[in-house]
Symmetry: C2
Subunit: 282 residues, 2 copies
């Protein structure tokens, strides 16, 4: 069985994302007819119909959705192969650590201080870290269990903490010593914000849709949404808000995560020395 070529996968991903051959071709920098031909050839080769062509464009079949997911990870793996190979030839290069905006500055500062190796910090949006690791743009990430997808990575726990709810100071809940998840999950007028899923769509619900930490910060400042976050995320605490511990929320573990083979040995050893021995010191 002849293997697929990355070109075919790139073409298919473009069409599957645009759901429109013309736009996909434009994005790829080629003309529409060769793209149509390539996709048809891909379907013939797999023996599977990937797209339902329609007068108004195209729609993914079930098999097409599978291929879209698989092709993305495969293309990430190919891109990672190129990046990591180039980097392997450059031994003096600093480690690239990726983290999301809004993570604990203190912990990151401690980590960087403890590392003897040069570390370059790359900030990205929520949910992007795993992608940066998978395609080789970063060597290691600071992530949070159970929120982030850690599948496929080796990890080193750094810190465990409870979560607090951020509520307006004027709200009845603000006076409480602690609250439960059930109590904050359905507060009238203070719905929890909804984050996009991996495919870009939003789950149903009453809360506002947010894509970025800064959008969320805005909404919290306006008192339009309620937030359950790790206790150390003080970045969100304005004078108008109160943090109330959520007793039954799962603990959040801040972890260092890296793909197998990443040259993070020195950093991980430093992290172990710094955080394993005394993790209540921060």
């Amino acid at each position: 069985m002849d293997d697929l070529e990355t070109r075919e996968l790139r073409y298919f991903v473009a069409v599957a994302e645009e759901l429109h051959f013309g736009r996909a071709a434009e994005r790829l920098g080629i003309a529409q007819p060769p793209l149509s031909r390539a996709i048809l050839q891909l379907e013939r080769r797999l023996g599977v119909k990937l797209l339902d062509r329609d007068r108004r464009g195209a729609a993914l079949t079930g098999a097409g959705e599978v291929l879209l997911r698989e092709a993305r990870t495969a293309l990430d793996a190919v891109a990672a192969a190129a990046r990591r190979t180039r980097q392997a030839a450059d031994p003096g290069r600093p480690l690239v650590l990726v983290t999301k905006a809004g993570a604990s500055h203190e912990l990151l500062r401690d980590l960087l201080d403890a590392a003897e190796t040069p570390v370059e910090v790359l900030l990205c949006e929520v949910g992007e870290q795993a992608h940066r690791l998978r395609d080789g743009q970063a060597d290691v990430a600071v992530m949070h269990r159970p929120y982030d997808d850690l599948a496929g990575f080796e990890t080193q726990d750094l810190h465990v903490e409870g979560q607090v709810a951020i509520v307006p100071a004027t709200h009845p809940l603000a006076a409480r010593e602690s609250v439960t998840l059930a109590e904050v999950s359905d507060v009238p007028g203070l719905p929890i914000a909804r984050w996009p899923r991996l495919d870009g769509t939003y789950p149903d619900g009453p809360g506002p849709e947010v894509r970025t930490q800064s959008q969320l910060a805005q909404l919290v400042a306006l008192g339009l949404t309620l937030l359950v976050i790790p206790a150390s995320s003080r970045a969100w605490q304005w004078p108008e808000h109160v943090a109330v511990p959520v007793v039954d929320a799962p603990d959040v573990t801040t972890v260092l995560a890296w793909p197998p083979g990443s040259p993070v040995g020195p950093l991980v050893r430093a992290a172990r020395r710094r955080f394993l021995v005394a993790d209540g010191s921060a």
Copy 2:
């Protein structure tokens, strides 16, 4: 930066494995000059020297070793994309479960009985399961923590058990109620067998080298090696041998493992019903 093509990766992997352009070309079914040209082009494109050419063939550089590892996983991902897409178009297809020869028959039998969906069982050698999962040849595997590499897979624990040492009935240790790891790790004349690493080389040590379960069975039967295995692996117990519990060996967890997105929902639910509620019933 233009992406790599899978053809280039396949070519490089062949050369890196053979360390000889002529043999690699033969394996690939092409002539040697185009292969040389392709590798040179790959090196130019990456801007990295991958191989040290020598009068006697070729040797991998550091960057070459990185690319070999990365290319293998990338090619697995591409192959998986093709396989899983084809399978997605065939909804009636049975799940393919891969396990290593020598795993507990009872547990597997229970699992298959509990599953309502058709399941096809594929046996393979130790260390091969992860590969089969990664390149889409199988949907789900029965593996063992901490022995098997579970990175990148979702898992469902099935069973936890201690380990026993298998020793000749005539050996002094056979009379013991229990032993410790330290006691069995350095028994004169009864060294522990050595398994190959992922790259095919063997760690140093006094024990015999083994590649397959059957080779190991042979050695155990001859009384030439000592074995520490999960207590349920009765396949190894002949009359001439005695199983002695190893008190401080880490527990072995038999787990169901599958790559994200694998259509294993029904099987996993069946496994939960069967093993989570009463896991001491086997």
